[in-house]
Structures are given as C-alpha cells and as structure tokens.
C-alpha cells in the first residue's frame, strides 16, 4: 500500500502561517501575482480580507490596526504597480515606527530580473524604508519567514517589514511537514539603565529648579504610561508631549503643559526654552520639535531614555544617555527622584498660559469681521467637549491636524492617530478604517481637510461596501491651508498651487450611500455633531471654514524658540 504523504500549497502554508501569528484583518487588492494567496483565503475563515480601492489605503489601514492594537497590521498587494502603490504607507510606517507586515506578490522566480510583466524590484525600492525585507524563494522557508517578519516588525523599535512572494512559490506543492520556524536572529534587549546613570540622573534632578519631562511616542508603544505617571506625580515635574506622545497621559493632567514644538503651546515651548533639565522619554528630537539645534534648550542638561541607540546623541547631545527600555529606566529614576513644589516654575507656565488664552482667537468670540464661519479650533474644542475627550481621533495632515492636536483634550490612552514623521496627506480615512476594525465598539472620528480628503477619497467605496461606521469631520477651507499659511507668512502671500476647486462633498458621499450635512455657521455646529454621533453608520460633517485662518503659535522651521510667532 502506497503511503500518501499529506501535501500543502505554498499559498496555503502562507495563510496558515498568518493565522498562527494571530492575523485577523488583511487590507489589500488582488492581481496576477498574488492570486494564488487570494485563492487560498476561503480555506482560512480566520483571515478576513478587506478589499480597499487603492493599495496606499491598504498600507494606511494596516497602520490603523497596528496603532490601535499595538500588534502588526497587514496589507497585501500584487506585484508591480500593486506593490509600488503601497510604498507611501510603508515609508510612513517606517518614520513613525509602526509595525506593519506588507505582503506583495512577485513574478515567478524563473523570470525575476528579466523585466517580466508587472515585475518591480520592490525590495530594492523599499530597503531604505523597511526594517527588514524577505523574498521567499523556497516554500519550506514560508513558516519561518512569516514568523520572523511579525517578530521583527514588533520587537525593539517597531517598523514595517515586507515579504515578497513569487507566484511559483505560492503555487508550489510540497509535503506538509519538516518545517523549521525558528527565528534566526533574535533581537537582544537594550542593556538598561546603569547604577552610575541612576546616580547621575539623581544629582541632576535634585539640583534642578526648572525641569521638564518629554513624553514621546515610545511611552505609548511600550505601555509605560503608568510608570511615567508615577514618576511625574512623585516628582511633581511638569511635562509636555510630542505630537505622537499625545494621549499617552490624560490631557487634563494638572502637570501637563501641552504639546511641544513648531505648533506647540506657548507654555510648553517657553518652558523648554528656559528649562535647566530635560528628561526625554521615548522620543527622538525631530526637527519639528527642536527648531534651530544650536540654540535649542541651551541651559538644559538632557537625560535621554531611548531603546534605539542611533537616536541618542543624534540631534541633541545627552548629558545622561540611557540606552534602555522605558519601563525599567523610569522605575529606577522614580526611586531616586524627590518631590519639589516648583512654585516659581509653575507660576511661569501659568503666566504663559494666561497670555496665550488672552490672545487665542478661539477665545475671542468666533466671527472675524462679518464672517460667521466657525474657526477650526472652535470646531475641535466643541467636538472634544461633546465627546468628553474620550473618542478615537484620526487626523490627516495640515492645519486641521495641528488644531486637532492642540484643541482636542485626549483623556483616554492611545486615542490619537496621525502621520507625524512623513506627514502623508491621505492618511486619515484609511487609517480610521483600521482603527475601527480594531475597536468596533468605540466611536472613531476622522478629522480631515479638503485637500487631504481627496487623496484617498476612493475609500468611501470601501466604507460603503463594508459598512464601516466612521464619522468624518471635514474642515473645508477650499485651500491647502497649511501651505497657504506658509505662503502667507514667508512667500509674500503668493498663493500658488493652493486654492482648491472642490466638488460637492455631501453629494459625493451620498453617491456612496453615506449621509452627511454641511455646516456654515457656528450655531449649526453642535446639532450637526450630535446627529453624526447618533447616526448609525458612516457620516460626513463638512464644515466650511475661513481660508485665512492660521494655526498659532508657530516656531518657523529652523528657527529659535525665541522666534515663536503668536499672531500673524
């Protein structure tokens, strides 16, 4: 009697490996080279494929899953144009350290390198913006490569990993045993904080009169918010968040000075300018945070805790460089830090806050001249009040993003999602889809400008097909507002390439079966937002805002903190 060995197809082995990694949602778009994998999906009901309308959106949706769940999100595309369409979303994940696994079909191994139909050297193109990349040229390697890809994406400093799967490997039929899925290159944990460093930090903290703690994306990604909060409350030091640190700790915390950097609050930036000690936790001193480096926080010693050593001493030299995971380092520092009232220091911050509140247009009543359009800041503040700062907010890129960061009071952990490093317009709608799949019971808002909305507007099709319940708040100033602001301030108000002739967005949404309404006066704002909140299913609220509104304060790119502008 012949003994029949069980066999398996490469594509099925691939899907089975994805299931083992706990994958539920894959966002993608099919095509010739990836078809074998799609063909295997019905055998794996645990895998739910969401067909998007453009591969870029698949990469952003995968990011939405990753940002909301802390686990790798997955996107999948065919070879050639499918793969190249993923690139922006992957580059974005790289700069924001978001764990995603991108799967691309590839032409058969026999024709790789011959400019075959729909061949693109996607690995070659993505090397600078991926953490690791694999081309599968042996079906036996599938289980190990998939396992390693998920492991690397989500270990240490997180980031995107790509797996390129040639069609013949996906179609190969092999005996279903003898796989070795051992991870070849385990990542070593950082060395952690040393005794000398604790002692040095202790001395600096003990003598500091004007300290400030920086809360970065790392605090959210490592789940160190509890440890950081204990450190802050024991020491009574004020803190400020980076754009991605927002929502790590409650926005109403009494020690919170608001966001730092180019569009940060007056109180945070003035505190940084005058600080004698900066304790930077899980952040990388991006140029939007520092402005002119030579003049940055000149009087401050810097204690920098980072788990990626290439970020330490990159832009700002650390007095105490601590190459460590956040939690253990913060715990050690908490043990040795003392409590101080910092009376004068907090009084200084309060004075700066009052100063800004006195000139903030949002506090000036809303209308300028005879215009009745609501201000962006007013809209966001209203949304924040109505939702008690507890909803998920996914923003796009532009003025509306900075207004959302500044005027929504994030009171719940990890509820703020946006593209910071790459600043990719088109991020919000697809990313919000991923957030919604991850948190189906929670409300998810998209905050988007008219320019950004049209960069992935085709995803209204996905929202329609899948009944994805996201609320879209479109702040329509009929301009590429953020660029207009720069033109206004630095280019003699020459508005070149920034006015936008827009479609009827409400009619467009309705073509996709999505309800919505347009708001032009402040008095209609609250009822519209309430209707959006009550509505079952996706809803579009378009708010017509003034094109000449500016997000202030602003530290112009490459300038000193003392050059901060507070009015136009």
């Amino acid at each position: 009697m012949a003994r029949h060995k069980k066999t398996i197809k490469g594509a099925e082995l691939f899907c089975r490996s994805l299931v083992k990694e706990g994958v539920t949602y894959l966002f993608g778009y099919t095509g010739g080279a990836i078809m074998p994998v799609y063909d295997a999906f019905p055998k794996f009901p645990q895998l739910k494929h969401i067909m998007v309308r453009h591969e870029q959106a698949a990469a952003f949706a995968a990011q939405g899953v990753a940002r909301a769940s802390g686990k790798p999100g997955v996107c999948i595309a065919t070879s050639g144009p499918g793969a190249t369409n993923l690139m922006t979303g992957i580059a974005d994940a790289h700069l924001d350290s978001i764990p995603i696994v991108a799967i691309t079909g590839q032409v058969a191994t026999s024709v790789i390198g011959t400019d075959a139909f729909q061949e693109s050297d996607i690995i070659g193109m993505l090397v600078p913006v991926t953490k690791q990349s694999y081309i599968l040229d042996d079906p036996y390697e599938i289980p190990r490569v998939v396992k390693e890809a998920f492991y690397l994406a989500n270990t240490g400093r997180k980031g995107p990993v790509i797996i390129d799967l040639p069609k013949d490997i996906a179609n190969a039929v092999i005996p279903d045993d003898g796989f070795d899925a051992t991870i070849r290159y385990p990542v070593l944990p950082p060395p952690g904080i040393g005794k000398d460093q604790v002692a040095h930090a202790q001395r600096l903290m003990a003598s500091s009169e004007r300290p400030i703690v920086f809360v970065g994306h790392g605090v959210i990604q490592s789940g160190a918010q509890g440890e950081v909060r204990r450190f802050l409350e024991k020491s009574n030091m004020p803190f400020s968040c980076t754009l991605h640190g927002i929502s790590a700790l409650p926005g109403d915390h009494p020690q919170y000075l608001g966001m730092m950097g180019m569009h940060g609050t007056v109180e945070a930036n003035r505190a940084i300018e005058n600080a004698d000690l900066i304790i930077a936790l899980g952040m990388r001193f991006d140029d939007r945070v520092t402005g002119k480096l030579d003049e940055y926080a000149k009087d401050a010693d810097v204690i920098h805790v980072e788990h990626d050593p290439s970020e330490i001493n990159k832009n700002v030299r650390a007095t105490v460089p601590i190459y460590s995971d956040l939690k253990p380092a913060v715990v050690e520092m908490t043990k040795v830090v003392g409590h101080k009232p910092y009376k004068k220091w907090y009084a200084f911050a309060a004075e700066n806050r009052r100063y800004w509140e006195g000139i903030d247009p949002v506090n000036q009543g809303n209308s300028r001249g005879d215009k009745q359009n609501p201000l962006m800041g007013t809209v966001i503040r209203k949304l924040s009040d109505l939702t008690d700062g507890r909803d998920n907010v996914v923003s796009d890129v532009g003025q509306h993003q900075m207004f959302a960061a500044r005027y929504y009071q994030f009171n719940r952990f990890n509820t703020w999602f946006n593209s910071g490093g790459l600043g990719s317009m088109g991020f919000s709608v697809p990313a919000a889809m991923g957030v919604k799949y991850t948190r189906p019971k929670e409300r998810v808002w998209v905050i988007v400008g008219d320019g950004s909305f049209q960069m992935n507007i085709q995803e209204l099709g996905t929202i329609m097909e899948q009944n994805i319940d996201i609320k879209i708040l479109l702040l329509n100033n009929n301009f590429l507002g953020m660029v207009r602001q720069w033109q206004d301030l630095f280019h003699g108000s020459r508005f070149i390439g920034t006015p936008v002739k827009n479609p009827d967005f409400i009619a467009l949404a309705s073509a996709y079966g999505i309800s919505g309404e347009r708001v032009t006066a402040e008095k209609s704002l609250e009822p519209a937002l309430r209707r959006a909140m009550k509505h079952k299913g996706a809803y579009l609220v378009e708010i017509v805002t003034d094109m000449d509104e500016m997000i202030m304060p602003m530290i112009p790119a490459g300038s000193r903190f003392s050059d901060m502008r507070v009015t136009r």
Binding site: R184, Y185, V187, L188, P309, S310, I312, K314
Partner: protein, 100 residues
C-alpha cells in the same frame, strides 16, 4: 573645498543577497562617498567581512551612522560574538551576543 574626513568601518554580516546593498543604501542616503570597499569570506562559514571606507564633510555625525549600521548588521548576526567597530577612530565598539 571642504576638508573631507575618511572613516573606515569593519563589519561582519551573513553572506546573503542584499546585505551589502542595505549598508551602501544607508551610506548613500546620508550622502557620504564610498572611497574603497572590500568584501570577502571569513573563517566562519556563512559570515562575510566587509571593510568600507567613506568620506564626508563633518566629523561629528559619524556616531549615528555607526549605530545605524550596527542595527542593520545586528539583524544578521547569530554567531557567538561578532565585533563591529571603526578602524580609523575608536568611536564605538560593540559585541553582539548569540542566542545565549
């Protein structure tokens, strides 16, 4: 013309397609110029040795690229201990442990 500073890096990595490309891509991204490059086998099977010298304008940013190259090559290391350091100036020495 600005005085260019020459740096030499010795790195060990797995002998696999794409490793050298990754290193050079990083050097190119920073707009440093490769002056010489030698790649060959080591006595350990499957491990290659690369000596790369490159020049760039300012001397103070070298630490970052060293750390970044260390990150790349680290992905490929599993041998008991592999050294990685700068030959021209002793900025940084690091050992990558194996599985233990």
């Amino acid at each position: 013309m600005r005085q260019k500073k020459l740096h030499t890096i010795l790195a060990f990595a797995h002998n696999q397609p794409g490793v050298l490309y990754k290193l050079l891509s990083l050097i190119r991204k920073k707009r440093y110029n490769v002056e010489t490059i030698t790649v060959g086998h080591t006595h350990v099977e499957g491990i290659s040795r690369m000596t790369i010298s490159f020049s760039h304008g300012e001397g103070n940013k070298i630490e970052q690229i060293v750390q970044q190259i260390a990150k790349i090559t680290a992905d490929f290391y599993e041998q008991e201990a592999v050294m990685f350091y700068l030959l021209s100036e002793k900025v940084f020495i690091r050992h990558f442990g194996g599985k233990k």
